[in-house]
């Protein structure tokens, strides 16, 4: 089926909010190329489980699409309309199974060497959209904090090399009570600027302490979920005829209840946490990968005003089969390797933060936990310099937020 043949009743299986939106914009959908529309529907069908920031963005995008004139539609989607799709793809139920369509479309585009053309079309569309979608003024400057190196007693090599050109490196930080001070500051921001899913604390191990004012995601707290998932994966891998692509498809269908994560929690957050494991690569086995990916995905999706990520030591490398089969075992840890992982993880945290609105005014603090090294990127601070001034964590926070 092609988009022009779309009918309103084809959205009857969509969740309530998604259906309401789909029905409001079905005429616009009919004008769009399938190579684009399936992806849009992939977003829409998840609408009921999206964070507020995502909903706002999608609402605006749909409104803009519905307001386009035929000439504008032709201009915006010229690139997508040049992408050819197979009849097999067109026959798929892309309305109700957009994720499956996207998987197969992606493989098809690679195979037919159309990926570059698709990429160019997507870039062009993004540019058109960004030019008109507008951004809201943030209630407070965005702040990212990465705490790295838990469990490392000493480290002689250089840290924060990727971040140094963008901020000031502090070599004489007084680490006393540092983690608690950071947590308290994040909680204070959450209270001062209450926004749903606006302030996050991601911990690659056990949370330092419970805090009700923050959206909290912890690798340790999700151990039962992870164990269930690893068992599922083991079972799948052992199934006859199973391959990596089919396994990925099956993982994408997993819901929180399948992993015991529907015990009166928050459905939106539950689904987010499950996706960290089912969409992420390596998040199931390495806590450092989990923390980095959780930071990326929370920034991309929830666009928090505050994000504190604390990395913890990951398990030491083993053969993948063993890593996947070890459920609730006490694995040997690799603190030094984890510090290196977290160092690049903090850099990616900053990059992803800078992709959001207000990037020029945002601040970012990376600290070697329990040690005297930190890196601060803030509008008021010079870049690419080292400060030998003695500074406590409170002082760094003050520089970050003033």
């Amino acid at each position: 089926m092609l988009p022009k043949e779309l009918q309103a009743d084809q959205f009857r299986a969509y969740p309530p909010e998604a259906k309401r939106l789909a029905l409001a914009h079905v005429q616009a959908f009919q004008q769009l190329p399938l190579s684009f529309l399936a992806g849009l529907l992939g977003q829409l069908i998840e609408y009921d489980y999206k964070f507020p920031a995502e909903r706002t963005t999608l609402d605006r995008e749909l409104s803009i699409l519905s307001s386009l004139s035929p000439a504008q539609t032709a201009e915006w989607f010229h690139g997508f309309s040049q992408v050819s799709l197979s009849s097999q793809l067109i026959r798929l139920d892309w309305v109700n199974q957009p994720a499956l369509f996207l998987e197969q479309e992606s493989a098809y585009l690679w195979t037919t060497h159309q990926m570059d053309a698709f990429s160019a079309a997507a870039t062009g569309y993004g540019d058109h959209l960004n030019a008109v979608i507008g951004v809201e003024q943030l209630p407070v400057r965005r702040l990212g904090i990465a705490v790295i190196g838990q469990g490392v007693t000493s480290y002689d090599s250089s840290l924060f090399d990727n971040l140094r050109p963008h901020g000031t490196y502090f070599s004489r930080v007084r680490p006393d009570n540092g983690l608690e001070l950071l947590l308290a500051a994040v909680e204070q921001r959450a209270k001062a600027h209450p926004v749903a899913y606006g302030h996050w604390y991601v911990d690659g191990g056990q949370v330092a302490r419970q805090t009700s004012s923050l959206t909290t995601v912890s690798y340790s707290a999700l151990a039962p979920v992870r164990d269930q998932l690893l068992k599922f994966m083991q079972g799948q891998i052992a199934s006859p005829g199973m391959g990596p692509e089919q396994l990925r498809t099956n993982l994408a269908r997993i819901l929180p209840k399948d992993l015991g994560l529907d015990q009166g929690g928050e459905p939106v957050l539950d689904r987010f946490q499950v996706k960290l494991f089912t969409d992420g690569s390596g998040t199931q086995i390495f806590s450092t990968t989990f923390a980095q990916w959780a930071a990326r995905e929370s920034l991309r999706r929830a666009q928090p005003l505050t994000l504190l990520v604390r990395f913890a030591p990951r398990q030491r490398q083993k053969p993948m089969n063993e890593l996947l089969s070890e459920v609730q075992s006490n694995s040997e840890l690799d603190p030094l390797g984890s510090l290196i992982d977290a160092d690049i993880g903090s850099y990616y945290h900053w990059i992803n933060q800078q992709r959001l609105a207000g990037a020029e005014q945002s601040s970012f603090l990376a600290w070697f936990e329990g040690h005297s090294q930190a890196l601060l990127v803030a509008p008021s601070l010079p870049r690419g310099v080292t400060s030998d001034s003695a500074m406590d964590i409170k002082g760094l926070l003050s520089l970050a937020t003033d």
Binding site: A38, G39, L40, G42, Q43, E54, T57, L102, S106, W110, T111, T112, H113, M115, D116, F118, S119, A122, G126, L129, N130, D161, N162, H166, I237, G243, P244, E245, L247, R248, G280, S281, G282, T283, Q284, I285, F286, T289, Q292, R296, R300, K318, P319, M320, N321, D334, G337, S338, I340, D341, D343, I344, G345, Y347, Y348, I351, Q354, R355, L356, A359
Partner: protein, 406 residues
């Protein structure tokens, strides 16, 4: 500094949006050119190499028939995929001391090799081996559609089956040695050794001690199939490598990774069979898919060391010492940090310029020393180039011989 924005999830999910903050005004071809020149400048400064464009004169290759007959060719894929900032850029030089300090000064270095095909390791390696951008399913154990270098080599030069070998990771590469092509195909391919399957067969029942050598398939950390080896592998061990199971296991205990195992097998093969065409596919670096940067960097350092070990093995073997050309190249790169569709070093899914633009190092017989070329070549040029050097015709390959190697 503002980074390229996250775009709607359609695009992020499919890893399709590409804009490098540092080069946002440049197109993919310009970025590729920039990468090539950056590598060239880096090598000039770090390894004292000269730009190839300044060189004139006749080919260093000797095309006498006798020389061609004796020539040995070793191809090593520096896999699976490493980026400049962890290798041939100032920040990466600590990770490649052997290639930079020992190999580069005696090599011709091609700084701008692009891969326009599918960025999956099996399909990309198959493309390297056929000289055609293959479109087979990366995760299926199927043969390439087009004739491989091994078939051209053996059929055109009438070489025996013992003269062309592939050593490959076991995840699907077992079909890489021979295509489905009717005019070549069965009977003309290379013999394929899968070291992990060899080890698996040898250690049957006591795999725990050797688990670190049996790591497999990082390309999808989701999916780690059981590695199995049987009678065929044990026969390879005893008949071809002349290794008892006990000796093999004893030596394997001293190794630390699957690629180390591959190099051990390669050296043994060189001693026992002296193949004229030997293709080794490294894969340790692909641990990057697990998202652990430290493991990725460790793997680059190991691969760097192993490439130097292979070159030393060439010097140590009389059959190889004076008549071998060794080519080292990644199958492709990895995603740029600034590409909002990817997740930095972890994957090679965006198809951006940095994941498509790599390099090739040529060493040994007929190769100019200490020269770096930044003119564009494609990864599918490899097979026609080797064909021109060894005297066979890569008739169905779509690439072109690299002039600087002829």
């Amino acid at each position: 500094m503002r980074q390229p924005a996250f775009h709607n999830d359609l695009l992020a999910r499919n890893a399709l949006l590409t804009k490098d903050a540092r080069m946002s005004s440049l197109g993919p071809q310009e970025i590729a050119r920039h990468l090539g020149r950056t590598r060239r400048d880096f090598l000039r400064d770090a390894a004292g190499m000269v730009a190839g464009a300044t060189l004139l004169g006749a080919s260093p290759f000797v095309h006498a028939a006798t020389a061609i007959r004796k020539r040995k060719m070793i191809v090593i894929t520096f896999g699976g995929g490493a980026r400049d900032q962890e290798t041939f850029a100032p920040a990466g030089q600590a990770n490649i001391p052997h290639m930079l300090g020992e190999l580069a000064p005696q090599s011709s270095f091609f700084a701008r090799v692009t891969n326009q095909g599918i960025l999956g390791h099996y399909v990309a390696t198959a493309s390297l081996a056929t000289g055609v951008y293959e479109s087979l399913n990366n995760f299926s154990a199927v043969p390439p559609d087009h004739p491989t270098i091994f078939e051209y080599f053996r059929k055109d030069l009438r070489r025996p089956v013992s003269d062309a070998w592939v050593i490959a990771p076991s995840n699907g590469f077992n079909r890489i040695g021979e295509s489905d092509c009717r005019s070549y195909g069965p009977g003309f391919g290379a013999q394929v050794i899968l070291p992990k399957q060899l080890l698996s067969a040898a250690v049957a029942g006591s795999k725990l001690e050797y688990g670190h050598l049996l790591r497999d398939n990082y390309e999808t950390p989701f999916y780690a199939p059981q590695i199995q080896g049987g009678e065929f592998e044990l026969q390879q061990l005893e008949d071809i490598l002349k290794l008892s199971v006990d000796d093999f296991m004893t030596h394997a205990k001293t190794l630390s990774s699957p690629d180390e195992l591959s190099v051990f097998i390669a050296k043994r093969l060189m001693q026992r069979e002296s193949p004229s065409l030997l293709w080794i596919t490294m894969h340790d670096i692909d641990v990057a898919h697990s998202g652990a940067f430290s493991l990725y960097v460790d793997a680059i350092r190991r691969t760097d060391r192993l490439c130097a070990e292979m070159w030393q093995a060439v010097q140590d073997e009389p059959e190889y010492a004076a008549n071998t050309t060794m080519l080292i190249l990644p199958d492709f790169g990895r995603d740029a940090d600034q590409d909002s569709g990817g997740n930095g070093f972890q994957h090679h899914r965006t198809g951006d310029a940095e994941s498509r633009t790599t390099w090739m190092m040529a060493l040994g017989q007929g190769v100019r020393h200490g020269v770096v070329y930044d003119n564009p070549v494609q990864s599918i040029d490899l097979v026609p180039s080797i064909g021109a050097m060894m005297g066979f015709s890569a008739a169905q390959a779509e690439g072109k011989p690299i002039r600087e190697l002829l």
